[in-house]
Symmetry: C2
Subunit: 252 residues, 2 copies
């Protein structure tokens, strides 16, 4: 089995005020490559849907070495290197047009029964060993993130645009919510070096959710339901960057 | 001058719970084609930026005949049919893979000086007559929308993910905000037949905005600043549709 390589381009919708791809849009392309490669191997979402199942993302980590710029062509090379009854591990290397690695990711997935919303043993359903490429993950696996002791919190209600094709809040939406909580000091002076994210329980249209953030050497985030059930946790490790010369607001 | 034709594909990120492209994502592709075609004709945003200017969208209308489905290939054919010192009119026809028209749009643009944030006379800067295709607009021009008498209102603060490469709230973001205000009864039973939107004044990071909605035969929306200055207005005309059999929430 060969690794799959998927070519994309940073569009205007993907960039922030720095004209570079946002963390959320990078993650979206990483997950898009996962979907494209699973489709190519006939175990994509639509293939699983025929069997009453779907893929669910459990954990992801992304390391970013350089932010891609608007209109830049890039590729995502992806491979599965482990399949067991609990989890499938899929890896990604993001490369620019010259072949330099600009980011790398490890994603861990389960298969769920879409009616019962319960995990199923993927190895009992089919033999996916043909899809495995025996090459190590490019970075350390996503960490398990403990409960966050939030210093600041916001409430938010799940709205129409949060809901994806799986009829729950999309994986990348949470990342957008976390970035929107960041103070201007971080937005202007830091860039994400690594994101770890755990998807614990799905959330659905109309739900009232609490989003908490804790600041420190890293920024930690937790989404929970109104009665305290954890939904999603993330940690972003920062690197200092040249302060952004373009202000977040244009001149008045 | 030939019309420009740009080919795209509905990605997973573009669809809602019905697995069809959302109104916001359709508008995003329409505006992307505008950008791609202006680049092709050497009067795109980056060309104007070299001259201290940029394009600003004044008004848009979109008529939707059929919603595109996830993974569907489609095209946007676009042409400019009028350039005067106040405004440029660019038209789009969205076609599916068989050539059927699924949507059509008319967009009206001005050029602004990016420092002074003031409109400039584009005809005094260059002769764009070479870019004009003398073919009528595919639908009635975007209407001027009067003040909305809101029945419901929400306050929202402009956050990081709302800000685009022009360092103000992106044109499509407002459309997403409006759709997120809709009651479930409309989300489940109606589809947009036509959107008209007026962009009156830009809004920026950190601003507190009021978003009002008025319901009736049409749904009308207005974004204004905390002190009442209008920012954006829109009207969506609905058509009845087969009630969506897939609930907005999956079965528990």
């Amino acid at each position: 089995m060969e690794k799959g390589t998927y070519r994309y381009r940073v569009e205007s919708r993907d960039v922030d005020f720095t004209l570079k791809a946002s963390l959320a849009s990078l993650c979206d392309y990483i997950l898009r490559a996962a979907g494209d490669d699973a489709d190519r191997n006939n175990f994509g979402v639509r293939d699983l849907n025929c069997d009453g199942c779907s893929w669910v993302l459990l954990r992801m980590c992304v390391e970013i070495y350089r932010r891609l710029e608007e209109h830049e062509d890039f590729s995502v090379r992806t491979w599965v290197n482990d399949v067991n009854r609990m989890m499938t591990t899929r890896n990604m290397i993001v490369g620019d047009a010259s072949g330099e690695t600009v980011a790398a990711a490890v994603t861990q997935w389960a298969v769920i029964d879409t009616d019962k919303r319960r995990a199923v043993d993927v190895t009992a359903r089919a033999d996916f060993s043909y899809a495995i490429v025996k090459e190590p993950s490019p970075v350390k696996a996503p960490v398990r993130i403990p409960v966050i002791d939030s210093q600041s919190e916001q409430m938010r209600k799940v709205v129409y645009s949060d809901i994806d094709f799986n009829r729950h809040v999309g994986s990348v939406k949470y990342i957008g919510w976390f970035c929107d909580m960041l103070p201007e000091e971080i937005i202007m002076n830091k860039e994400a070096a690594r994101l770890d994210i755990n998807y614990i329980h799905e959330s659905r249209f109309g739900q009232e959710l609490r989003v908490g953030m804790s600041d420190g050497a890293q920024s930690s985030f937790e989404v929970s339901t109104a009665d305290g059930q954890p939904v999603c946790r993330a940690v972003i490790t920062w690197k200092e960057t040249t302060p952004k010369t373009d202000a977040l607001c244009p001149n008045v």
